[in-house]
């Protein structure tokens, strides 16, 4: 495992992106349910074999920043601006965190 991982988690906490722990013990988390809707276009687990980019395993900050810039229009897109506007800041964090952890 790359040592970058631990650093990344620390950075994440420092950014205040860490989410509240789930109050019950199942791995069907809100982040998992939210992120599963990305997979229709971006492939199961964010692995796309077609013309739509893969989105798994990127640093959480990258995924978060991309969604925010789609949302405010600073990053041009065909459809992602329309999707990104549908999520709250907390939801984008949950999705980014879930996708970043997929190897």
């Amino acid at each position: 495992m790359k040592p970058a991982y631990f650093t990344r988690i620390l950075t994440l906490s420092a950014l205040g992106l860490m989410v509240t722990p789930s109050s019950y013990a199942t791995d069907i988390t809100r982040g998992k349910i939210l992120a599963s809707t990305c997979f229709a276009c971006h492939g199961t687990d964010g692995r796309s074999s077609g013309s739509i980019p893969s989105i798994y395993g990127y640093p959480v900050e990258t995924l978060y920043r991309n969604m925010k810039s789609f949302q405010d229009g600073t990053r041009p897109a065909t459809v992602m601006g329309r999707h990104a506007k549908g999520y709250t800041d907390e939801e984008i964090k949950l999705i980014a965190e879930y996708l970043s952890n997929i190897r």
């Binding site: 495992m1 991982y5 631990f6 988690i9 989410v19 722990p21 789930s22 019950y24 013990a25 199942t26 791995d27 069907i28 988390t29 809100r30 998992k32 349910i33 939210l34 599963s36 809707t37 990305c38 997979f39 229709a40 276009c41 971006h42 492939g43 199961t44 687990d45 796309s48 074999s49 077609g50 013309s51 739509i52 798994y56 065909t78 459809v79 329309r82 999707h83 990104a84 506007k85 549908g86 999520y87 939801e91 952890n101 997929i102 190897r103």
Partner: protein, 432 residues
């Protein structure tokens, strides 16, 4: 496997166990033993049922999941317009169940379900067997209201194909289009709301125009519609004009487009109490629809012909322990589409897993993107994000919408590429 809360997770990271943990983070971790041995039966191997089967095994691998589908291969209705346009083949849009079985451990039974008894929790099969279930997912797609149109019938669809369930009907319409002489008239009768794939009829018009432009440029396309507006209307009409000139004419319901009766033998359609008639060389009549047959016979549909569900979990409000997803369900603001069915399949997999674990359903969101091709290099889309709110699924305000009315050729080309990419990704997400 033991489940971890966030604190333990981070603690273990610090202890240097990050490899194992992150290595499995994307896979299904067994939530607990509570769901062990539960049998979930899924009726229908289309986008909804197949997605539900795959994601149930991902979310709760200790459950037994059986998918019942009569056909050994499934041809998607989405993408079938591209076959009619001559830019895809039937093989491109046909999928098998091997990966669901071998990769995900879903048991596949090729049979028809003839009855559902929600009191004893059993389904009966045409082959004579019956199966006990703990939870049942029904994803039967659509059925046609053949008898609502005077002069029309299921038999008449062999002359005037609907091609709204892909397969033999798609091939029949394709043969008719190929046999039509240059200069002929193709008439499509678009269905009344609600129906499967709202932009579908209009994508079909553009794809057939592409075929005509290439092979029979003097031909004409007439769309007879009972409605006065349709999905992505402005984008479609601008695109048709730009690419096909006056080849496509759309006749709205209030201007004589509402077909009331047909004469099948002469391929003639009548509207305005018989005062207006249209004769086609090829007629594609897409009838009004309702939930698939098993939903009607098993009492899952209400008087509307569609299935009412709790829109948080998709459990039927008429039969406990039975979940209805996809086109057959009444899903608030979500359109009847393959993408919606895929989104609902994942949602129902999560809802059933949590229910088996006696845990509350997480607040879900859904998405839908309907891509349509006007030409092979000209794509448009409509997107939406949905949320469960006040008892129903509602679109998130300020999000979603259609492609811009003014866009460069490069933008339309990029959306055409994404249309194909979407097909590849979603079919892998469903059957891969």
């Amino acid at each position: 496997m033991k489940t971890l809360n966030r604190r333990e997770f981070i603690g273990l990271l610090g202890a240097g166990s990050a490899v194992t943990l992150f290595g499995t983070a994307g896979c299904a971790i067994t939530p607990s033993g509570k769901a062990r041995g539960a049998h979930i039966v899924i009726v229908g191997g289309g986008p909804g049922g197949s997605t539900a089967a795959k994601y149930l095994k991902r979310y709760a691998p200790e459950t037994r999941v059986t998918l019942i589908e009569p056909n050994r291969r499934f041809t998607t209705c989405f993408g079938s317009n591209w076959v009619l346009g001559g830019i895809s083949t039937m093989a491109d849009i046909t999928h098998g169940y091997d990966a669901l079985h071998s990769r995900h451990g879903v048991e596949i039974v090729h049979d028809n379900v003839t009855g559902i008894d929600s009191a004893t929790r059993r389904v009966t099969l045409a082959g004579g067997d019956s199966l006990a279930y703990d939870r049942l997912v029904v994803s039967p797609g659509i059925d046609f209201r053949f008898d609502e149109l005077e002069g029309f019938s299921a038999q008449a669809a062999e002359t005037m194909p609907h091609a709204w369930k892909a397969g033999a009907q798609t091939e029949l319409l394709q043969r008719q289009l190929r046999a039509m002489p240059d200069g002929g008239t193709f008439i499509m009768v678009a269905p009344g709301n609600p129906f499967r794939c709202p932009p579908g009829p209009y994508e079909r018009a553009g794809m057939i125009a592409h075929y005509f432009k290439t092979h029979k440029p003097r031909s004409k396309i007439l769309i007879l519609d009972s409605k006065d507006k349709f999905s992505k209307q402005g984008l479609f009409m601008d695109g048709w004009k730009e690419r096909y000139g006056d080849m496509i004419e759309w006749v709205p319901g209030t201007q004589g487009g509402n077909v009331e009766s047909v004469d099948v033998a002469s391929r003639t359609l009548y509207s305005q109490s018989g005062f207006t008639s249209f004769k086609g060389d090829v007629v594609n009549l897409i009838p009004r629809q309702r939930a698939g047959a098993i939903a009607q016979t098993s009492g899952l549909a209400d008087e509307s012909g569609w299935c009412p569900v709790n829109q948080l979990t998709f459990e039927s409000t008429l039969h406990k322990g039975v979940y209805v997803i996809g086109d057959a369900s009444i899903a608030g603001a979500m359109p009847k589409s393959g993408h919606s069915a895929n989104s609902q399949g994942k949602l129902v997999a999560a809802a059933i897993t949590l229910d088996l674990l006696d845990q509350p359903m997480e607040k879900p969101s859904h998405v839908n993107t309907c891509y349509s091709l006007i030409a092979p290099d000209y794509g448009i889309s409509v997107a939406a994000v949905y949320r469960y709110q006040d008892g129903s699924i509602q679109s998130v305000k300020g999000a979603g919408g259609v492609s811009p009315a003014e866009a460069t050729a490069d933008f339309r080309l990029q959306e055409a590429r994404y249309t194909r990419g979407w097909y590849q990704s979603i079919t892998e997400d469903i059957w891969g």
